[in-house]
């Protein structure tokens, strides 16, 4: 069963293109502006949308996403509102939407309700950076039952055997963390990151690999695209554009930036 995400990677690889995976935080800097940012992502040609749901203690995130989460929570973001946003996206776009949040949000709601209500709203999959495969039995079962993908992460220091194990638990794509550290647009692509992409691709088999953390702009996107990444994930750099744009210009500024990234995924 290939969902929207599986179909996406199939379609893109058929035409020698990489997926541009873009992240924004729901409710940052406010509800309507974050929806404008999503419209910008779609207009700019994003292939997949990671829509962050804020958690009070985001320990895998750097300052940009931390601040966005704090703002979003301060504005009263809730799962009901979030699901409403996804329904809103579905009215005009068929782009796959993945929820990125933390394990406690899913656990607190109950994995069953979390997966079913999200699926009904149009969410295609989940990324929970503090959910290791060892603890993920209930979560993956409920996600599968609702036809949603579970996207797990691997790191530069994850041994090949463990990458294979994590890949088996993953559907949609495998999220490769390119650098040691938290999320944030550092820029630059190291030889080590390219090596670890090669190893990860090998161990992941047929599962597409998306590379993220530290990707800052078009040049980084190009490097990873040429090095064989199936998807390139850009988050903090886009959020920065969102944060720096006057409210009325968010959609167009984001669209412009995303288009410059997307152009580099076409080989």
């Amino acid at each position: 069963m290939a969902g929207r995400i599986g179909e996406l990677f199939g379609r893109l690889s058929g035409r020698g293109e990489r997926a541009l995976i873009t992240y924004v935080m729901a409710g940052y800097p406010d509800h309507d502006s974050s929806m404008a940012a999503v419209r910008g992502l779609v207009r700019g040609g994003a292939d997949l949308i990671e829509l962050g749901f804020p958690f009070s203690d985001p320990l895998a995130d750097g300052p940009v996403i931390q601040d966005a989460a704090t703002t979003s929570l301060g504005m009263g973001m809730s799962m009901g509102t979030y699901h409403g946003m996804v329904r809103g996206i579905r009215e005009y776009a068929d782009t796959p939407v993945v929820m990125m949040t933390y394990a406690n949000i899913a656990h607190s709601m109950g994995y069953g309700r979390f997966a079913s209500e999200s699926a009904q709203a149009g969410v295609d999959g989940f990324i929970l950076p503090d959910m290791p495969v060892e603890e993920s039995g209930d979560y993956t079962r409920e996600a599968r039952r609702n036809g949603t993908d579970t996207i797990f992460l691997v790191s530069p220091n994850t041994p090949a055997r463990r990458v294979s194990r994590i890949a088996r638990a993953s559907t949609g794509f495998l999220y490769m963390v390119a650098v040691y550290g938290t999320t944030g647009a550092r820029g630059g692509v190291s030889g080590d990151a390219i090596d670890s992409l090669r190893r990860t691709k090998e161990a992941a088999g047929d599962l597409p690999v998306g590379v993220g953390f530290g990707v800052a702009g078009p040049r980084d996107v190009r490097r990873y695209a040429e090095a064989g990444a199936d998807g390139i994930i850009v988050g903090s750099a886009i959020l920065r554009v969102v944060g720096e744009s006057p409210r009325g210009d968010i959609e167009s500024r984001v669209a412009e930036f995303v288009a410059s990234l997307k152009a580099q995924t076409i080989l």
Binding site: D57, L73, N104, I105, V154, T158, G181
Partner: protein, 387 residues
């Protein structure tokens, strides 16, 4: 307890993938060294000659007479070097880090007690630590910041979130993710991913073992619970026997005000800082801000072994309010000439309640986890506001 660090359904290892190899390396090293004779001898040497162990078990006759019930004994962890039980754990972990050839130590601290104990252990072993501390705590605990600097450690203020202990832990974990290779994270309580809850409990279990050597199995033992390291160190060795075990959480201004840190009393299970345990959180799973008069208990989580002990009913958990804590603090000062830490005064408040309803022939041991010099200003301020 299994290899994955489960206590019933609690504990485990909910961490970003980057930390998995580091945590496995730590579990492997600790597993290898925990029963290694030369490691034990080295640690025991430092505990005796540097930390001042064993600590006395003191029969508080005046307090017992005043309360009128069971004999109250104080396990004097306040007499440890540094003035708190924290040094038991920091010496153990710092020695472990040195054996693991980790050149860089990071730690978190709330009020600064664990930070100071880390700085002391590191100085004694020729290492340096970087200590994360919420900027709000930095302001409240200037003296401890200076103390850590004197001891050769660096204090890094944390500006994120509520700028207190939980944010200091978040930031220490972020540092560890970034510098995973040569860095040792010296965690201060029996919380976090496996193997920390097991390891910290083992290092603190010297408290319970000494109690058993000093008095056998008392009728009851009482300790305060924030993250719960002095309590688990007291309870774990006694848990297989008949002793009634009581953990006292920070009731703050009262459970119904929402201004407290009583995780086991008012929380529900969830995932934070790498573990499944009881947490103070809202209906959506966002972590709550906590309140306690004692910074050392001001934490929205609790060690997973306590969560398990609560569920199986082996340990009773209740609370003491700020008011009750100040009363117990004052009572011990007046009756015994001992100034307890406000954290420990929670245990004392619980023990006084308990002892009053027990027979004179019975015994209650209270773990006096630290001394109260650090809290004098807070107590003075509380008295002023009260008037």
């Amino acid at each position: 307890m299994s290899d994955t660090g489960k206590f019933g359904g609690y504990g485990g290892s909910y961490i970003p993938e980057t930390l998995v190899p580091a945590v496995e390396e730590l579990a492997e090293a600790y597993g290898r060294l925990a029963d290694d004779a030369s490691f034990r001898a080295e640690l025991d040497g430092y505990l005796q000659e540097y930390a001042g162990r064993p600590t006395p078990l003191y029969l508080a006759r005046n307090l017992t007479e005043r309360v009128g019930g069971a004999r109250i004994y104080l396990k004097r962890e306040d007499l440890c070097h540094g003035g708190a039980h924290k040094i038991n754990n920091t010496l153990g972990q710092a020695l472990l880090a040195r054996r693991m050839k980790k050149s860089r130590i990071i730690a978190e601290t709330g009020a600064g007690q664990h930070g100071v104990a880390t700085a002391m252990a590191c100085a004694a072993l020729g290492m340096k630590a970087a200590v994360y501390m919420g900027s709000r705590d930095v302001e409240r605990q200037r003296l401890n910041v200076y103390r850590m600097n004197l001891l050769g450690s660096e204090v890094i203020p944390v500006e994120s979130g509520s700028r207190t202990l939980k944010d200091a832990i978040n930031e220490a974990i972020r540092d560890w993710i970034t510098n995973v290779d040569g860095t040792y994270y010296l965690l201060g309580s029996a919380v976090g991913p496996h193997p920390y809850p097991v390891m910290v409990r083992d290092f603190q279990s010297v408290i319970g073992r000494e109690i058993m050597e000093q008095i056998g199995e008392p009728d009851a033992a009482v300790a305060c619970v924030g993250g719960g390291s002095n309590a688990i160190g007291t309870f774990h060795p006694l848990a297989s026997g008949p002793t009634r075990l009581v953990g006292i959480e920070a009731g703050g201004r009262g459970i119904d005000t929402g201004l407290h840190s009583a995780t086991l009393t008012a929380g529900r299970p969830g995932i934070l800082h790498g573990m499944m345990s009881y947490l103070l959180q809202d209906d959506a799973g966002q972590i709550s801000e906590t309140h306690s008069i004692s910074a050392g208990l001001d934490y929205p989580g609790v060690g997973p072994e306590h969560a398990h002990y609560k569920d199986i009913g082996r340990v009773e958990y209740s609370t003491a309010t700020d008011r009750e804590v100040i009363d117990a603090f004052t009572l011990l000062c007046r009756t015994e000439g001992i100034i307890p830490a406000l954290e420990s005064a929670h245990a004392l408040a619980g023990a006084v309640r308990l002892a009053a309803n027990m027979k004179e022939s019975e015994s209650v041991v209270v773990t006096l986890s630290g001394r109260g010099d650090k809290d004098i200003g807070i107590v003075r301020e509380y008295g002023r506001q009260d008037r």
